[in-house]
């Protein structure tokens, strides 16, 4: 009953991949955002110092006697000193004309406005941050514009930025790792609910079709409720088919019983031999058809039950003893005796109804074929496997037919005068097969048939 279910992908993997992928994207985003912010902040810091330095230089400029005096203050440079010993370049221009400093700074920035401007550029092969600020000096008769271009390399800044990036990367990775762990946990907690449901479905016996009562997460509600309704329908149809079989048996058997009893009663009254013969044939035919109907129904019941095998612990010895007790009155009518030989107890897990039916069929057969006043031997043994063997002293199985006897409606060559439907051995075999066993037919050396039902 274990059908292979077509599966496509795994819900767990899908969830884990989505969550981890999301975490990775978020971690990267975090890293870049943090870095770009810190770059911006660090740049701002450098810019502020540059501005302060440039401003103090400009402040030092003055017009004295129509000449420009600019004494670069020491503090203007000292405030620019960094741990990484960044280099500083400067240029002083008067009305756009180079006065002093590094001349190659001049071409870099030609802009002249009253507000200081910043830009990043390369001077002598080094990346620098440049500020250009100007101030208009007004003398007695003239006005002139002083422009300061100040540049500082960014070694220290990039060092700081590297450190910040590294920290951001660590943080991002930590976030990623934590989120991944969380997503594994969340996934298995979610999938675990499904697993629990699966387990409680699997743990159920084949006849247990009660609805699930245990509460499940809201999202699983529809699944469980459709499972419950499916099981409800299954339960109904199972009990309907069981009822149907019982009802069919009832419908067939009651009228047959009426005919059988009337025929029996009539036979006792009739004296004329030819009439008696007719009544006898009638009774024989009724017996044959009722037996066939009975066994067909039994067979249907057995096929049905074998599909939904219920395994209970049973003692085969007790089961067989019950049967022997029940069949003894019938055996006695034929002056047959039933002898049971067995171990103390043979415990087996199986369907008691099925096994009992199978053993009854074997004993029935033996009683049909056993000669009068003989003994039918019944053995129940534990080793090599739990088994029941029934032996009679009848004619035995026709040689060469042993194989075909267990197929449906097949009867032995030598069974002409014996009422039977040919289903007995089939039923026994089906029951054995349903329990993973088989039946074995053989003839005893001294005559008589033995059938072993091994489970």
């Amino acid at each position: 009953m274990t059908n292979k279910v077509a599966t496509s992908g795994s819900l767990r993997n899908r969830l884990v991949f989505t969550l981890i992928g999301g975490a990775a994207v978020l971690a990267l985003l975090f890293f870049f955002v943090v870095r770009s912010f810190s770059v911006q902040i660090a740049q701002q810091g450098q810019d502020n110092i540059l501005l302060a330095s440039a401003t103090s230089m400009l402040d030092a400029a003055a017009i004295r006697n129509s000449t420009i005096e600019l004494d670069l203050p020491y503090s203007a440079f000292s405030m620019l000193s960094t741990q990484a010993d960044d280099r500083i370049f400067y240029a002083i221009l008067q009305d756009g004309k180079f006065l002093s400093g590094y001349e190659d700074l001049v071409g870099v920035d030609a802009s002249s406005s009253n507000t200081p401007t910043f830009k990043t550029s390369f001077v002598r092969g080094a990346k620098v941050r440049i500020i250009s600020a100007s101030r208009t000096l007004i003398g007695a008769s003239e006005r002139t514009e002083i422009q300061i271009i100040l540049a500082q390399t960014q070694d220290d800044l990039s060092k700081t930025l590297d450190q910040i990036s590294r920290n951001a990367a660590f943080l991002g990775f930590g976030f990623f790792a934590l989120t991944s762990a969380l997503s594994f946990w969340a996934t298995s907690a979610t999938i675990g609910q499904l697993g629990k449901l699966t387990k409680s479905v699997t743990r159920r016996g084949p006849q247990d079709l009660r609805p699930f009562k245990r509460s499940v997460p809201k999202e699983m509600g529809p699944l469980v409720s459709s499972l419950n309704s499916l099981m409800g329908r299954l339960d109904q149809s199972l009990s309907q088919s069981e009822d149907f079989i019982a009802e069919a048996a009832h419908r067939v058997r009651t009228p047959l019983a009426t005919v059988r009893s009337y025929a029996d009663a009539t036979l006792q009254r009739v004296d004329k031999e030819e009439n008696r013969e007719a009544m006898r044939s009638m009774i024989k035919a009724i017996d044959e058809s009722s037996r066939a109907a009975g066994q067909l129904l039994d067979h249907a019941m057995i096929t049905f039950r074998a599909d939904h095998l219920v395994r209970e612990e049973i003692n085969l010895v007790e089961l067989t003893r019950d049967l022997v007790e029940r069949l003894t009155p019938i055996a006695e009518m034929k002056d047959l005796s039933l002898a049971l030989h067995s171990d103390d107890q043979v415990i087996y897990k199986g369907d008691p109804v099925l096994i009992q039916n199978a053993v009854r069929n074997l004993i029935d057969n033996a009683m049909k074929y056993g000669p009068m006043e003989s003994t039918i031997e019944i053995f129940v043994s534990r080793v090599p496997s739990p088994s029941v063997t029934v032996c009679d002293n009848g004619p035995g199985f026709p040689v060469g037919e042993i194989e075909s006897l267990t197929t449906r409606f097949q009867r032995g060559e030598n069974s002409k005068d014996i009422v039977g439907s040919g289903l007995g051995l089939t039923i026994a075999r089906d029951v054995a097969l349903a329990h993973g066993g088989n039946i074995h037919l053989e003839n005893k050396l001294e005559g008589g048939a033995c059938v072993t039902l091994s489970l």
Binding site: A249, R269, I302
Partner: protein, 248 residues
């Protein structure tokens, strides 16, 4: 079975002038069965054997019968119009009556067996049943349940208990096979009546068995041997059959 001995007495009195009074009650059955045809068939067959049988059509009817008179055995159908025969069984067992119950079931043997026996039925037969089987089961149940002396018959130096299956000839207990027992019972049921070989065969063997006339002769021979020490004798009437006689 038991009622048959009443018949025995009457016929014995007229035919063989046997004077011994046998105070045996007839065997009394109650049949609870809703199918009228089947019930008629069963009752007429039972009466042929000399039993007394009352018929109840449903559970209520059945309870009323049980309340008003005493029965030796109840034959109970399982599916009845006013309920399940098993509920009758439960109620019956709950009251103090211990009348044995044999269930007549039309359902598959597979499904019903365990339930009915658990509820306290003594045995069951599956419809349609062989009357001889029903009789054998009744005998077995009564043997288990009562085993009292009521069923004994004493005649011509033998003591015979058909329910227990005991035969005493003179003072000696004799073991009998089932068919010998039934043959003797048949003869004792109808003393003076002539039984043809065919009739005897029909009563002793099931219809599915192919019985030769020789087999009947064998059983008659055995019974004669068993009765040798008594005053009972089986007479052969050539061309007609056999008869049990009591000669002084």
């Amino acid at each position: 079975m038991r009622s048959s001995y009443l018949t025995v007495i009457h016929i014995n009195l007229t035919l063989t002038c046997h004077k011994k009074e046998l105070a045996l009650d007839p065997m009394k059955f109650l049949l609870i069965e809703d199918n009228i045809d089947l019930a008629n068939a069963i009752t007429s067959r039972m009466r042929q054997d000399g039993h007394v049988i009352d018929h109840a059509r449903d559970l209520e009817d059945g309870m009323a019968f049980v309340a008003t008179s005493e029965y030796d055995l109840i034959l109970l159908d399982i599916m009845l119009p006013d309920g399940d025969g098993r509920s009758f069984l439960q109620r019956h067992r709950a009251s103090d009556l211990d009348t044995p119950v044999i269930i007549l079931t039309a359902r598959s043997q597979v499904s019903d067996r365990i339930g009915t026996l658990d509820l306290g039925a003594d045995d069951y037969v599956t419809k349609p049943f062989d009357h001889a089987e029903l009789e054998a089961r009744c005998r077995a149940v009564l043997r288990r349940r009562t085993g009292n002396a009521r069923t004994k018959i004493e005649i011509g130096g033998i003591v015979f208990d058909p329910v227990a299956g005991h035969l005493t000839v003179g003072k000696k207990a004799v073991t009998m096979r089932n068919r010998e027992l039934r043959l003797l019972e048949l003869f004792l049921n109808a003393p003076g009546q002539i039984f043809s070989k065919h009739k005897l065969a029909d009563r002793l063997f099931s219809y599915e068995e192919d019985v030769s006339e020789n087999a009947i002769e064998v059983y008659i021979g055995r019974l004669r041997k068993l009765l040798r020490a008594s005053d009972m004798k089986i007479t052969t009437l050539r061309g007609l059959g056999y008869r049990l006689d009591h000669d002084k």
